[in-house]
Assembly symmetry: C2
Homo-oligomer: 495 residues x 2
């Protein structure tokens, strides 16, 4: 191997070790740690991150990727090594633009503002959170100023989560969605028709076994995965063969089943990365939009499909005879696809979800542009919420205070959730075209053809290519809202 | 604060973060990790250890402790800051003597030799393990050669686990123990009298609740501790308020109860370290012997005492009515104190345990001195075993191949187990002298006075003083085998 390439891989391997360990500290804190461990844990975390950051932004990484330009151009664009050099150069140049001192303030403020948000939300007190939001917006301006001016300053924030996609492109996709979704929501929503799943009881042990049954059918195995319980479900990977999924259980609903199918979608993506990329910065899914496309594909397109319901229905009825005995498979399928506007994004159904996101994207883009002030934010939220979803927001806890993202400084993250939904349908259609009879296999509980196709055409690439390049490979073209809209219209019987 | 001292604390805080995180990687691997995570986990571990080692052996640490000599001498000897400077200087000077390349070979060989040992033990094939033992002994000679010559080369190995104690001192204590224990074992052992606890059944859930009941009475709480299941029980601390205890359950015995009481002894020591030492190298128990003295004190002196049995007995009978319903408290107490020579050290009772250790200490000291070869080791083991414990070893799996320690290069570790037993009785007698009526409180399930006294007089000191200094503070004098021998004689009715 070329000497410089070998050195680069050794250095990046160590950084991968430090970052993966830092992720393990997070997982442990949320899943395992006794509560009194929190104070010293914050120091452990900060040190791991600082050491990884120092090692990555070291001059020597820049020298190596610069010296390796010839090696890179001698190799195929999508080879592991050319991709490693190219992606590392981009990451390094970006990381070097952020002064260490600013990075530290970003981390510190995120942690303090998140605590303030937790209290403010509990107290339904936007005014207590507003100074922290202002502080975050100031920091975001400092962050944006580290880069060459872009068409829209928001582009720099999007770049952290969906590099290569501009605010204008997002706005164009969202404008088309809005055009169709707002009237569609008014048409198909079924407020108060009692068409849900009822209130159980769904005992926790049964939920866990049903969640594991669905995940196992999708590709979960105890050799490489584990499932635990947390307050907020998430998925974390500490290696291509070490994936941790979490969920939560409430005895009066079946949300854990859908949360399991959502998180295993993230998990299968990480599990499917090519083993040749292990211990490199490419050993992970390709940014937020594509990652979310996979959680949504498994949760919604597969997990809320009639063929899937046909397979799972006997197990569900056997597990929860009291709560689901009277549900035919068709009724169960209708219940889990019910459309009803509601205040909380994470509880939203497939149709209304998009408008929750579009609302947030519009507001945060205006906050960053300076055309909306934090003083006017709650009113702007509430006015637009009624316009898009037909509901009057009764309190900020159910409105502007509901999400953690802004407190952590995650501006630019929200739109990727909805881009993921849009992409998920395009990827699904490509899979269907490549694999005839795909849905029929779901009725037999056979999801392996889909899993294999996704691994070969998407997951294995890791972070070698850009999100747009990766998406074009798997979906055969650029992002397009029409397949997504047709999917929703067809599923919900809209002409 | 003095500038150099502040810098030293910042640097040592980061090293504490890295080392504690490395310990968390170990815990996670043994308790939580899906099996396929192992291969990349080894790299994560190696990187964390290497980065911590590099940062600690950095020239700057040496400069700082050298510059801080005046600060040190201006402060009381046992103050946190003087102790930090003094202990760091000793640790740094020792660590700097080991070339990085040798340290890497020691780690690498330990991991390979441990794997070889696992297979060799399973196959009962000493010849397959012997080359690895030779390799470890060669490495130990290289390690010893890094230091100024000592009276006995074995002293340098002891220094890793019990600094300040010489092989000659250990040998003197052990000679006295041997004199009393060998005839005592012949006198009090009760082979085949059926005087044990029977074979249950002891369902796992009941064992877990009884283990937690005992540990909670000793000081376990869910705010700072957790209990999990592993193949080999251990205790690990990732902060003064984040302690993880593990045990294992077999339905036909109650070993988990004693393993819980043993591990919580280690845990209470770590939990009792003064919070002012958090994130320093002093925030841990004071080496192996004192640590073991605490696991043994809680497991054996408290946990096998009649007053303790009187408290736990009703709960035990209620939890395991089928298995223990016919056991009076006296019979239960006799059963858990039964003496019977057996082959496996970790299953040995309080009286025979010492001879298992003395045997290993003598053999490893001879191996290091070169007066015993690995070719002759199994014979030497078996001959001495029969002499000390009256049993003929039928196969190496039950003899020389039973322990993991030598495969990992842990020469010098075994004697600290027995020094711990000896010290535990001296500490116990000091506690009894200070706290009249101590044992009577056990019958009411009140162990708080003992816990508080141990925290104040031992645990809070952490690693500020040497083991000998620490022991003298808590026990009032140097190590002495007589109280331990009197304790065993009195407990087992020997004149």
């Amino acid at each position: 191997m070329h000497e410089g390439l070998e050195e680069l891989k050794i250095r990046l391997g160590e950084i991968s070790d430090l970052r993966s360990t830092s992720a393990l500290l997070d997982w442990d804190q949320m899943v395992m740690m006794p509560p009194a461990g929190a104070s010293v844990r914050a120091h452990r975390q900060a040190t791991l991150e600082r050491v990884a950051h120092e090692r990555f932004t070291n001059d020597r990484i820049g020298e190596l990727v610069s010296d390796l330009a010839d090696v890179e151009s001698s190799l195929p664009y999508d080879s592991d090594d050319a991709s490693l050099i190219r992606v590392t150069r981009r990451d390094w140049e970006k990381a070097r633009r952020i002064p260490v001192e600013l990075a530290a303030r970003l981390t510190q403020t995120a942690s303090e503002a998140m605590e303030a948000w937790v209290s403010a939300r509990a107290a339904n007190d936007y005014s207590a959170f507003r100074p922290w939001l202002d502080r975050q917006l100031e920091l975001k301006q400092e962050y944006i100023a580290c880069f060459e001016p872009a068409a829209d300053p928001y582009d720099h924030l999007l770049d952290d989560f969906e590099p290569g996609t501009s605010a204008e492109e997002v706005a164009a996709v969202f404008a088309r969605l809005k055009e169709v979704l707002v009237p569609m929501i008014a048409e198909v929503s079924s407020v108060g028709d009692g068409g849900g799943l009822g209130h159980g009881p769904f005992p926790e042990a049964g939920q866990r076994s049903i969640g594991l049954a669905a995940m196992t059918a999708f590709g979960f195995d105890t050799d490489s995965f584990r499932l635990d319980t947390t307050v907020h479900p998430f998925c974390s990977a500490f290696g291509i063969s070490d994936i941790r999924v979490t969920t939560r259980y409430q005895e009066d609903d079946l949300e854990s089943l859908f949360s399991c199918m959502h998180e295993i979608g993230h998990g299968l993506y990480e599990r499917g990365v090519s083993p040749s990329l292990e211990r490199t910065p490419l050993a992970q899914g390709c940014y937020s939009g594509l990652h979310e496309s996979q959680s949504r594909l498994w949760e919604n397109i597969v997990g809320r499909s009639l063929p899937f319901c046909r397979w799972l229905h006997p197990q569900l009825v056997a597990t929860f005879p009291e709560a689901l005995g009277r549900f035919s498979v068709e009724r169960f399928h209708r219940a889990v696809n019910r459309v009803e506007p509601s205040f909380i994004r994470v509880d939203a159904d497939e149709v209304t979800y998009g408008m929750h996101i579009i609302l947030r994207f519009e507001l945060e883009r205006e906050l960053i542009a300076g055309t909306l002030s934090t003083a006017d934010l709650p009113d702007a939220w509430n006015t637009r919420f009624e316009e898009y979803l037909g509901l009057k927001v009764p309190e900020d806890r159910l409105g502007v205070l509901q999400d953690v993202h802004w407190s952590c400084g995650y501006f630019g993250y929200f739109p990727t959730y909805q881009l993921g939904n849009v992409m998920s349908v395009q990827i699904w259609e490509a899979a269907q075209a490549a694999l005839p009879g795909l849905e029929e296999r779901f009725e037999q509980g056979d999801f392996s053809a889909l899993g294999t196709w996704l691994r070969e055409n998407l997951y294995s690439l890791g972070r070698k290519l850009t999100p747009k390049e990766t998406f074009a490979r798997v979906a055969g073209g650029p992002i397009d809202p029409e397949p997504y809209l047709r999917y929703l219209q067809s599923k919900h019987g809209v002409a």
